[in-house]
């Protein structure tokens, strides 16, 4: 009971803070404290209101919702074998079931719902209940096709996390990454945040690197050696087309997409020097961003599309710099450590996550994007590299060799606590890129 009171208190405080912040007309910070302890939640099967006699849709919804709630770190899903109630024999809204069936298995929260399918039209209702206070906290209704049920579950997971923390969850998103799971070659893949819907973008026996997504997951940019010389490729995932991006300035080393997918910040090498250029989506140069007799690589564009962070060794060692995308002076951000690379802006632009060398390995740090004191997020456990942020700003995905092979891990941006490995396969996974939310 004490824990539950504390939770309610913390929820109340978060809501209160949100109200106060709104009253002062300040933007609500996208970074809030992460979970200190996972709340036990029961995810009941969906009541069949017609057409889901096999409970296939219900099982897809429950499995996907449970995985996403677990991945968030905020919830621990109680094993369904412990559930007393038969969802088909009871109702799914207030007054139609007994909260005691759920309090007796120590559930603090409960998800119930119902589904029907007529023709190819699925109608799905899901609700979140606070078991202790016997209140309904939130409900949503989704309609769509049978193949949309897992996506409905991810959106409902975001709503559950939102009801619990005051900030929408990160589940209704996609990740692009590099993997050797298909064999020896680094290929580009895209999947939903929870690993569902895995889609292999490239298939060539060379080297494919640095996938970047725009907000709408319409465009994917990557570097490939598939035409022997490295070049950037801009895939239009909707139009099923791909444009090869080359430059008269030299050889492509890497790049980043602006959030709207309309422009590319490309790192282009010429005579051993690498500089950044802003290109349009056909590869036509808009402007040179850097013209330094040094290495300038690893660009990242801020969420509002106005700033570029990158790595430069103009001081003699690789350090993180920030400059306006419209051109101008680059400001050096990192001064601690002799080897800092791979910057990534937090969604609100206030922070940059990056990797810093420590002996033969790397750790993830974050620093205010205007400069300041860096904060260490990972500490050992193999090499930790290539950070990217979730759109809600609470999570950072990165690749780590802490389990031997390289895998993508999820940690809290607020304190570096590792939640889970996001990928578990036989290959090496690296270079995660996190999309914006897919739905509204």
């Amino acid at each position: 009971m004490l824990i539950r009171r504390l939770l309610l208190l913390s929820i109340t405080l978060i809501l209160l803070l949100a109200v106060l912040t709104t009253a002062e007309a300040q933007p609500i910070s996208m970074t809030i404290e992460g979970p200190s302890a996972a709340a036990p939640i029961a995810v009941s099967g969906l009541k069949n209101l017609g057409g889901d006699e096999s409970q296939e849709l219900s099982s897809h919804f429950v499995a996907t919702l449970s995985r996403n709630l677990q991945l968030s770190g905020y919830f621990k899903v109680i094993n369904p074998h412990a559930y007393i109630e038969d969802p088909q024999a009871s109702g799914y809204d207030l007054g139609q079931f007994n909260f005691s069936d759920w309090s007796s298995i120590n559930a603090e929260f409960l998800v119930k719902g119902a589904v029907s399918i007529k023709g190819s039209e699925v109608d799905l209702v899901a609700m979140l209940f606070d078991v202790g206070s016997q209140r309904r906290l939130m409900g949503k209704r989704f309609t769509g096709g049978p193949n949309d049920v897992r996506e409905m579950a991810r959106r409902f997971a975001d709503a559950v996390i939102g009801a619990y923390t005051g900030t929408r969850g990160p589940c209704d998103t996609k990740l692009a990454f590099v993997s050797t799971r298909g064999g020896r070659f680094k290929e580009i893949y895209v999947s939903y945040f929870d690993g569902d819907g895995l889609f292999q973008v490239t298939n060539n026996p060379t080297i494919n690197l640095f996938p970047k997504l725009d907000h709408s997951v319409t465009h994917l940019l990557y570097l490939s050696y598939k035409s022997f010389q490295p070049a950037l490729y801009l895939v239009n995932l909707s139009a099923k087309s791909e444009v090869k991006i080359t430059s008269d300035h030299g050889t492509m080393v890497g790049g980043a997409l602006t959030p709207d997918g309309s422009q590319i910040v490309a790192a282009i090498e010429h005579n051993g020097l690498t500089n950044l250029y802003l290109l349009d989506s056909s590869g036509t140069e808009i402007r040179a961003l850097t013209s330094s007799p040094s290495i300038n690589v690893g660009p990242a564009v801020s969420n509002d599309g106005t700033q570029v962070a990158f790595t430069s060794d103009r001081s003699g060692r690789p350090q993180i710099y920030v400059m306006p995308i419209g051109g101008g002076e680059a400001q050096r951000i990192t001064y601690s450590g002799s080897y800092n690379t791979s910057p990534a802006f937090s969604p609100d632009g206030s922070k940059i996550a990056y990797e810093s060398r420590d002996g033969g390995r790397f750790d993830i740090w974050e620093i205010p994007s205007s400069g300041g004191t860096p904060v260490r997020l990972t500490n050992g456990g193999g090499s930790n590299e290539a950070p990217c942020w979730s759109p809600d700003g609470r999570y950072i995905a990165f690749n780590s060799t802490r389990s031997g092979q390289s895998r993508i891990y999820l940690m809290l941006a607020s304190n570096g606590n590792i939640i889970s490995a996001l990928t578990e396969d036989n290959g090496d996974d690296s270079s995660p890129a996190w999309s914006w939310w897919l739905g509204d």
Binding site: M138, G139, K140, N204, K244, G298, G360
Partner: protein, 190 residues
């Protein structure tokens, strides 16, 4: 979006985007067809991708004797007539002893005036992939500049960086890292 009210205990209704799901299914099928088997170099997996070699007409590249070609084909090859040189960590300066190797390489190129060479810059596994591609390019350029000062025509020399992608040694120790920080010289025509 159909209805109604938002907020605690309230309802929010949303319609899934059927068109997007359908488009994704078509796209997966199309790209799966467009992608080629890993046994069929040269690779080509989409509109606008070039399939021709950017090196020279001898067909070096995947299928040839460069590091990428050997990697693609799963083969390992000999050193060839030109010797590798090596670098310090995050460094692209050429040591005096490697200068002697470059002099020998320059002599071979002078004795074989029709030969062309591609210099591959490589790095050890530490550091970001992108920074290492840029660093490997600096290493390749450093050797090219050195060969040019020794009288080898610049138009006989091309450069490419593979960053840390194609190591010759895969252990995670100083010995391996030292071997991997290298310029590799591939004769591309003679």
């Amino acid at each position: 979006m159909i209805r109604v009210q938002r907020g605690r205990g309230g309802w929010v209704t949303s319609r899934m985007e059927l068109t997007r799901a359908a488009a994704m299914a078509v796209m997966i099928a199309a790209l799966a067809i467009a992608g080629c088997s890993s046994k069929q170099p040269p690779p080509n997996n989409g509109a606008g991708t070039g399939t021709g070699s950017n090196l020279n007409s001898s067909g070096v590249g995947p299928g040839g004797n460069g590091s990428l070609g050997q990697f693609a084909n799963g083969t390992t090859g000999g050193q060839g007539p030109l010797s590798d040189i090596h670098f310090g960590y995050n460094d692209y300066t050429i040591s005096p002893q490697d200068g002697e190797i470059l002099k020998a390489n320059a002599k071979w190129l002078t004795d074989n005036p029709n030969a062309k060479v591609q210099i591959e810059g490589h790095c050890d596994e530490r550091g970001s992939e992108e920074y290492n591609i840029a660093l490997g390019a600096r290493r390749a350029q450093a050797a090219k500049d050195y060969l040019v000062t020794l009288g080898v025509s610049a138009d006989r020399i091309s450069t490419i960086s593979y960053g840390k992608e194609l190591p010759v040694c895969t252990d995670h120790d100083d010995d391996c890292w030292t071997q991997n920080r290298r310029d590799h010289f591939v004769v591309t025509g003679s």
